[in-house]
């Protein structure tokens, strides 16, 4: 009999004497103090655990947690009897927290765990063990200001990203510099969006899964939890209508604002910064595929970039009109809609935001001038005329220079012909 075994026997004996005999059913009848006779620190020598002694527990930690007052066996089901018949297994939180458990099992993390993956997060990763605290407690690992570091703990790890064929650390890291990440880090705001706010807390799924909270169709209502006013506008807009009709090409919040990279509209790196808006809208509205598929007006980007507004914007004058100035941004409506800012009746008012004294003349003609016979006949004709005229002029000049060079070589009455003073 080794010393350890003797100790286990003695401890069990003491526990048995100190407590009424414990049945399997009334397992949690065991007092914490009884468990501590073996699992307490008292009289432990260093290195005892390595020699097979039971793990040590600090009862204070449990008392400070949400589970204070619980008996050990409420969670450690296999430890209801002393001495334990076999080594107690893993704690299953799901026996009390059923909905959380079923959500977790349906999540990508839970499914991976069931497949046998062991480097996926479980309950304790975010909630702790004996020290479980309410998620509203700032000391909790799952508290909004702490959770980002937990998620990024794995998702910033290039190794983890590689093994699980994930997009890569940079993609997730970008969140830290986003307007949401900054609000958490710098301003310490507990209302700023953190990972679980968009991805869900237990049922995290990849975006291509229809049940995912970050699936395309869910995004507007996702963002709308914090930005309800914008969601309302978006839902009324042609883009919102398109999405509801199942048109997956219709842009959602993330298409214009980015996902983990969302920054303020005043930030020059934002896709919705004044100078970048034309390219952002143009990524669909200059696209031949999308314009043709949904019968939209074409070349909205290039025609804008050739206008005076576009040129001024490209050269850095941000106060000039960009797409959003005329079309709106969240509440984009087609010009056929009487409520649209670009409806023919509203154009003078829309232009009037910048131009004093606008008249109905502002709406007479196209704003996006496409230089073609169909687009703007007048401009097209002028361009054709000038192109021919300039070409002819240049050719005649070249011809004239040729003649002049020839005649200067000719003799004229013994003098170099035409080498006289010429001006012009």
């Amino acid at each position: 009999m080794s010393r350890t075994n003797v100790m286990v026997f003695v401890c069990s004996l003491i526990a048995l004497l100190a407590a009424p005999p414990a049945s399997a059913a009334g397992g949690d009848a065991l007092k914490v103090s009884q468990c501590l006779s073996c699992h307490g620190k008292e009289g432990r020598e260093t290195g005892a655990r390595e020699r097979g002694a039971p793990p040590i527990v600090d009862p204070g930690v449990l008392e400070r947690s949400v589970h204070s007052g619980s008996r050990c066996a409420s969670c450690h089901a296999g430890a209801a009897e002393i001495p334990h018949r076999e080594k107690p297994g893993r704690v299953t939180c799901g026996s009390c927290h059923e909905s959380a458990a079923s959500s977790y099992q349906a999540s990508i993390h839970g499914m991976d765990y069931l497949k046998g993956e062991r480097d996926v997060p479980g309950c304790t990763t975010c909630h702790g063990k004996h020290d479980v605290l309410s998620v509203d407690d700032p000391r909790s690992v799952a508290f909004s200001l702490n959770i980002v570091d937990v998620c990024l703990g794995c998702h910033e790890d290039e190794q983890v990203e590689m093994e699980h064929a994930l997009p890569g650390a940079e993609y997730f890291k970008a969140y830290r510099d986003s307007v949401h990440g900054m609000a958490v880090k710098r301003a310490g705001l507990n209302v700023a969006a953190v990972c679980p706010d968009c991805h869900g807390n237990h049922k995290i799924l990849p975006a291509d899964n229809p049940g995912s909270k970050v699936n395309r169709l869910q995004i507007p209502s996702d963002c709308g939890k914090c930005h309800p006013g914008i969601q309302k506008d978006y839902d009324e807009s042609i883009h919102g209508k398109g999405l509801r009709a199942g048109i997956m090409d219709s842009p959602v919040c993330t298409d214009c604002h980015g996902e983990h990279t969302i920054v303020k509209v005043t930030d020059p790196s934002a896709k919705v910064y004044a100078k970048n808006i034309p390219r952002t809208c143009g990524s669909c509205h200059e696209s031949e595929v999308i314009s043709s598929r949904y019968a939209l007006p074409k070349k909205r980007f290039s025609t804008y970039m050739d206008s005076f507004h576009g040129i001024a914007l490209e050269f850095g004058m941000t106060k000039t009109a960009n797409c959003a100035s005329c079309h709106g941004y969240h509440l984009v409506l087609p010009s056929s809609d009487p409520k649209s800012q670009v409806n023919v009746n509203n154009i003078p008012t829309t232009c009037g935001q910048c131009h004093p004294k606008t008249s109905v003349n502002f709406a007479r003609g196209k704003i996006h001038v496409e230089v073609s016979r169909e687009g703007h006949k007048g401009v097209w004709m002028v361009r054709v005329f000038y192109t021919l005229f300039i070409t002819a002029l240049a050719l005649l000049f070249i011809l004239h220079i040729g003649f002049d060079l020839v005649q200067r070589k000719r003799d004229r009455k013994g003098k170099r012909a035409g080498s006289g003073e010429e001006r012009g």
Partner: protein, 230 residues
């Protein structure tokens, strides 16, 4: 005894002043303003080029570009107005302007020079004080300037213009302004650049715009009637 003596009579005999000093000043102002207008205008006309980006940066941003363009335009406008006053209300100007009017002789001269170049004739026409080439440039650039000034003002005061014209008219005015600017540029590039810089005997440039004087001998060759030398 002096080694060198400036002989005014001989000087007069040798040179003829065809560009008095106030002509030269006007030419200088025209040169500078048109240069600025080209540089600041082409940045907009060819806005998709890398050169335009650099030019805008050099000009100090897109707003300064507009300011430069319009300032040069105002200076040029004053020059044009002065010129109009000169040809309308000063005797000298009126007389000089008569010589710039297009006549049948100019067409005959042009054909004559062509015939001479093509070796169909051995006689080079006898030109006037202003040859058909000089007249062509004067009238060509003036027509261009008139169009540029009119279209430029319409675009400058776009809000006022839009009270009169619909937007599609301004679109046309804008494209006219751009192409007309190019035509003026083409005239200077192919015509002026050749005639006073690159043509044989003038390279690298004819200095008349600085000195105002030309060699009487050379000048008289094609203007036998005008200078009275046969």
């Amino acid at each position: 005894m002096r080694v060198f003596e400036f002989d005014e009579d001989r000087e007069k005999e040798r040179y003829v002043e065809i560009m008095p000093v106030f002509f030269r000043v006007q030419h200088l102002i025209l040169m500078i303003t048109v240069g600025v207008l080209f540089l600041s205008g082409f940045t907009v006309l060819f806005h998709r080029t890398r050169a335009s980006e650099l030019l805008v940066a050099m000009e100090g941003g897109v707003e300064v570009r507009g300011l430069l363009h319009r300032s040069a335009a105002v200076v040029l406008l004053f020059l044009v107005l002065y010129h109009l006053y000169y040809i309308l209300f000063s005797r000298e100007g009126r007389e000089e302007f008569q010589k710039l009017k297009l006549q049948k002789k100019d067409i005959a001269d042009f054909i004559g020079v062509l015939r001479f170049s093509l070796r169909l004739s051995d006689v080079y026409p006898d030109l006037d004080r202003y040859s058909y080439k000089e007249k062509f440039q004067y009238w060509g650039v003036n027509t261009g300037l008139l169009i540029m000034i009119l279209s430029g003002f319409i675009l400058w005061f776009e809000t006022a213009s839009m009270l009169l014209f619909p937007k599609w008219v301004l679109d046309i005015v804008l494209i006219i302004h751009g192409y007309e600017g190019m035509i003026v540029f083409i005239i200077l590039l192919f015509w002026h650049l050749y005639n006073v810089h690159c043509s044989p005997g003038n390279f690298p440039m004819n200095r008349v715009w600085i000195t105002g004087k030309v060699d009487r001998e050379l000048y008289s060759r094609d203007r036998r009637g005008y200078t009275g030398k046969k």
